[in-house]
């Protein structure tokens, strides 16, 4: 004979943590590639960099998962947190590069980039595009990407990045100038 569900009480203490981990793990399986790809964009193709960002986002999700009720909210959260994590990391990379240059007296060095597959990396056009992306300061890079790759409006970009619409407009204008100076045109 088996008595009713008394085992639930014993399971409930460890279950709280395991439930959370299990939930995030399912989300990880479904969304990992998407988060990784967003990070690759902002990291201009740096695979290792993007892996670090993706890792940080899902670890952060472990703490936030209880506050996210539905899938739509989750999708927005992932996008926003990935963007902001990339922004923080890009800014930190630039500070680090500047400090290194200051201390060592060398020129600014670029973080080491893990190459894309050989066939892709060999294409000059792709390399040139990524060079231009890397030349954009962090906020400009992200705002420009959100506008032209994700089709976000300036209002949406402002809300996600926590900036005023006017400032976003300036960022986009500056990024456009840089891209044009590099020999490209910026259309819709």
């Amino acid at each position: 004979m088996r008595v009713g569900p008394s085992a639930m009480t014993a399971a409930s203490k460890p279950a709280a943590l395991t439930d959370r981990v299990a939930r995030v793990e399912r989300i990880y399986v479904l969304h990992r590639d998407r988060v990784f790809r967003w990070a690759l964009r902002y990291g201009a193709g740096d695979v290792r960099w993007a892996e670090d960002v993706a890792h940080d986002v899902f670890v952060k999700l472990l703490r936030a998962i209880d506050r996210l009720d539905d899938d739509e909210e989750l999708a927005r959260w992932l996008y926003r947190v990935t963007t902001n994590r990339c922004l923080t990391k890009l800014k930190r990379d630039r500070v680090r590069a500047s400090l290194f240059a200051l201390v060592a007296g060398f020129g600014i060095f670029e973080p080491q980039h893990v190459a894309l597959d050989a066939a892709t990396a060999a294409k000059d056009e792709l390399q040139k595009t990524l060079e231009v992306v890397r030349s954009l300061p962090p906020k400009e890079r992200i705002a420009f990407s959100m506008l032209h790759l994700d089709g976000k409006s300036q209002n949406e970009i402002a809300e996600i990045m926590g900036l005023s619409k006017g400032y976003v407009s300036k960022l986009l204008a500056r990024a456009t100038e840089r891209v044009r100076a590099a020999g490209y045109e910026v259309d819709a």
Binding site: M1, R2, V3, G4, P5, A7, M8, A11, P14, A15, L17, T18, D19, R20, V21, A22, V24, E25, R26, Y28, V29, L30, H31, R32, D33, R34, F36, R37, L40, R41, G45, V47, E51, H55, D56, F58, V59, L62, D71, E72, L74, L116, D117, E125, L126, K128, T129, L130, V132, V133, S145, H148, L149, V179, A182, G183, Y184, E185, V186, D187
Partner: protein, 301 residues
């Protein structure tokens, strides 16, 4: 008309080329969650970017220092020396490397791929003997089945990315699983870890990756019935064990909590328990089956 190329178009092409790339490392969230507790309990410092495909944390309880033959420890040919942090080394059998920060002697028993991390090394593939002197500093050795933090031990690790084996030569290692199970390993003992349900480094194919993204899109749009139906299709096609387990659990959740199809959910939970017996979600499955049993008489004969 401008003859310059459109940058948004060029960048979109670059973005499309990124779609072919996948992360090379998997994140084991259970380890991240449990280490959060261990950190508070044992004062470990874990780097924010440390990744381990681990399900286990092992702590060294060495009572006597491991013996290290320092006369033999030397830098092997220059190609063996790690040039920079996070450098990956390919070492041939017999190659011996001594690292001073952190203190560690690496001897490849078979062809070895090892990666230097900030606080130690990550064994990716091969067979290696590791010597760690007993000093104040802890050293971390990452493998697919765990993370070894130790001071003063000698052991051999064999790793192939999904499974591995550990043999203790000197010192004593305690094996602490994420669920709290503790096992002591004495010198001469061998411990293996099998990750038959470990996540692959990539989805099995491009089609599967795209279909899983569709599941996610259906969920985001609130089309839970379509998400559940698509999962059924994915589970009937060739798919790795771990992903199948995760998707199967996802389907159960959809049936029970989103679609309110309780009878279907209960049937699914029972089938899941049979297919993935003792799997990653055994606590949750047990609880789900108990909930289902609550609708029928609570005492079975």
């Amino acid at each position: 008309m401008s003859t310059r190329e459109s940058f948004p178009r060029a960048w979109r092409r670059a973005d499309e080329s990124f779609a072919k790339l996948r992360p090379s490392r998997e994140l084991d969230l259970r380890v991240e969650a449990s280490w959060g507790r261990a950190r508070r309990g044992f004062g470990f410092l874990i780097g924010a970017t440390a990744l381990a495909s681990a399900a286990i944390t092992m702590f060294a309880l060495s009572e006597r220092p491991g013996s290290i033959d320092r006369n033999l420890a030397e830098f092997a040919p220059a190609s063996c020396a790690p040039a920079e942090p996070r450098a990956r080394l390919e070492l041939e059998a017999g190659c011996r490397v001594e690292i001073f920060q952190p203190p560690l002697i690496i001897e490849a028993k078979k062809a070895l791929t090892i990666e230097r991390t900030k606080n130690g090394v990550r064994v990716l593939k091969g067979e290696v003997q590791l010597d760690v002197p007993e000093l104040e500093e802890k050293v971390s050795v990452f493998v697919s089945g765990g993370r070894i933090e130790l001071e003063g031990a000698r052991f051999v690790v064999e790793e192939d990315g999904l499974e591995g084996r550990l043999q203790v030569s000197t010192g004593r290692i305690a094996f602490l699983a994420a669920n709290g199970d503790l096992r002591q390993l004495e010198p001469g003992r061998t411990h293996v870890w099998g990750t038959k349900v470990a996540a692959p480094k990539t989805w099995s194919d491009e089609r599967t990756a795209k279909e899983v993204a569709r599941v996610s899109d259906y969920r985001a749009r609130g089309e839970f019935d379509r998400a559940a139906a698509l999962i059924v299709e994915l589970l009937e096609a060739p798919i790795d064990q771990r992903s199948a387990e995760v998707l199967s659990f996802e389907r159960g959740e959809l049936l029970e909590h989103k679609l309110d199809r309780r009878a279907d959910a209960c049937a699914h939970w029972r089938a899941h328990a049979q297919r993935f017996h003792g799997g990653r979600y055994r606590h949750e499955i047990d609880a789900a089956i108990e909930r289902c049993a609550g609708n029928s008489p609570s005492i079975e004969e």
